[in-house]
Point group: C2
């Protein structure tokens, strides 16, 4: 299986390590996002491209690569747009006899598979997704955009039952007062609805982390009997888990392509065994 990586950020770097450790994959190229012509020239020898790009750019690249005959895996994470992205890429994948797997990080991604499975097991009930503690990119970017903020870092704190708090570390620009900046930040739409603590620090980098976590909890009924409790929990490195799961999904993309089941898939449409190295019989003996 010949794999290329597009993107050279945290996830791209972790994806290189994941592919090098995979027994069934060759890393045949690492490309910057603007090297699309180079990729086009190499297309005939590539099975799957991992799109390790800013989330908003991923669908456009998936479109381009499918047209080149390259199957794709991305970690597109804007939940409300996933169904539309899938629908658009479905047509292109089918008409170019390719496979695109989208939203294949940990949330959306592996957590999506778990959420679906929790509802299979207990069809009536509530599922809560509790993120953190860990860095939120969206909130960090929003905090950095506040007037008077020199640098910022926003950590997501799980408050239980799907509610989240924010701990925001900020450095001040010269000439600004902390209380004024804090007030502006708390009034921002990103922070106004959550319990938010703002802390003035000398150096935001002291608090940087790629560690993250999630707790998925479901309480509900199975066969009409209440009181079933199910939960899934991870304490992980964010870029490493994202990249490793994308690598698993690359196997699924390759297999679906081989079986001529062209199209665009989300992770809940994939069987776990498609993501593992080794033949099915071996994996059935290992995991079932």
């Amino acid at each position: 299986m010949n794999i290329i990586i597009i993107g050279t950020g945290n996830i791209g770097a972790a994806a290189q390590k994941a592919i090098l450790a995979a027994p069934d994959m060759n890393l045949v190229g690492v490309y910057h996002h603007n090297e699309i012509d180079k990729i086009s020239c190499a297309a005939s020898s590539v099975d799957v491209a991992l799109l390790c790009l800013p989330t908003r750019e991923a669908p456009m690249y998936a479109d381009k690569l499918l047209r080149m005959g390259i199957n794709t895996v991305d970690s597109f994470d804007i939940h409300t747009q996933i169904a539309d992205v899938r629908s658009n890429l479905m047509e292109i994948a089918k008409s170019h006899h390719g496979v695109s797997i989208i939203s294949a990080g940990w949330d959306p991604g592996s957590d999506s598979m778990i959420r679906a499975l929790l509802s299979v097991l207990a069809p009536q009930g509530q599922t809560y997704t509790n993120f953190g503690p860990g860095r939120s990119m969206g909130h960090t970017v929003a905090a950095k955009a506040i007037e008077g903020v020199k640098d910022a870092l926003s950590i997501t704190l799980p408050l239980g039952h799907g509610k989240h708090g924010r701990h925001v570390y900020i450095e001040l620009q010269d000439g600004y007062l902390f209380e004024d900046v804090k007030k502006r930040l708390l009034a921002d739409d990103y922070f106004a609805h959550d319990e938010t603590e703002v802390e003035l620090v000398d150096n935001v980098n002291t608090y940087q982390t790629t560690a993250h976590g999630v707790l998925l909890e479901r309480d509900g009924m199975a066969a009409q009997l209440d009181g079933q409790h199910l939960q899934f929990e991870m304490r992980i490195d964010n870029p490493s888990l994202t990249a490793q799961f994308m690598v698993g999904c690359a196997r699924a993309a390759y297999r679906l392509k081989q079986e001529q089941r062209y199209g665009c898939y989300t992770t809940i449409e994939l069987a776990p065994v498609w993501m593992l190295p080794g033949d099915d019989n071996y994996n059935i003996q290992q995991y079932v």
Copy 2:
């Protein structure tokens, strides 16, 4: 989707409740295991049969029903024989244009899917499956089948890191000696490999419970980075969860049949969305 249940024990009873609560299923028959002629007469109007039978009998019934043109779901739970059972039923399912999903309880079953997924997320590491405390239906049935046992109950005890003990309560049949019966029980393949305590009691029912639990833990590496911790935990009612998951797998069997993807499948070969009611687009919006 027209479903029948074969078997009138705990799982069969729970399966009735699960099907009655399912928005997309009709329960069109409940049969005792010896009513195979009746089932044969009704076969043309049946989509999927849930085999709620003692585990050793399930493969034979799956074979019979596939030959009648009925797709099957069972919860066959002898881990070491699953690959062989799959291989035997594969031929029959394919030649009769049917689908058989085997080992579709919670372990093997939903836990199998989780174990596979944990290894996708952290390919190097250790997974521990810790069961209990709770009654093992398979071990209880096995204990009851021992000559000289009037009634029995086998409780699984988690000893940590995937090690388990068994606490077996038995009542004796008249004319049998406890030591003889205990020796036979300890020699049975279900008990020979675990630390097993056998206790003679006046009334097994005093100790009955259908509550159970499991903790799946994996510590390992993702993208060559160590220290990733992942776990799945359930506190559930055993027959209810087993039956509910079988109902989910009946949807998968029905779908695979519609798509003419005939054969015998274990749960790690199934995508979660195939097990949910509602169309894929709706489920993608709900769960991804």
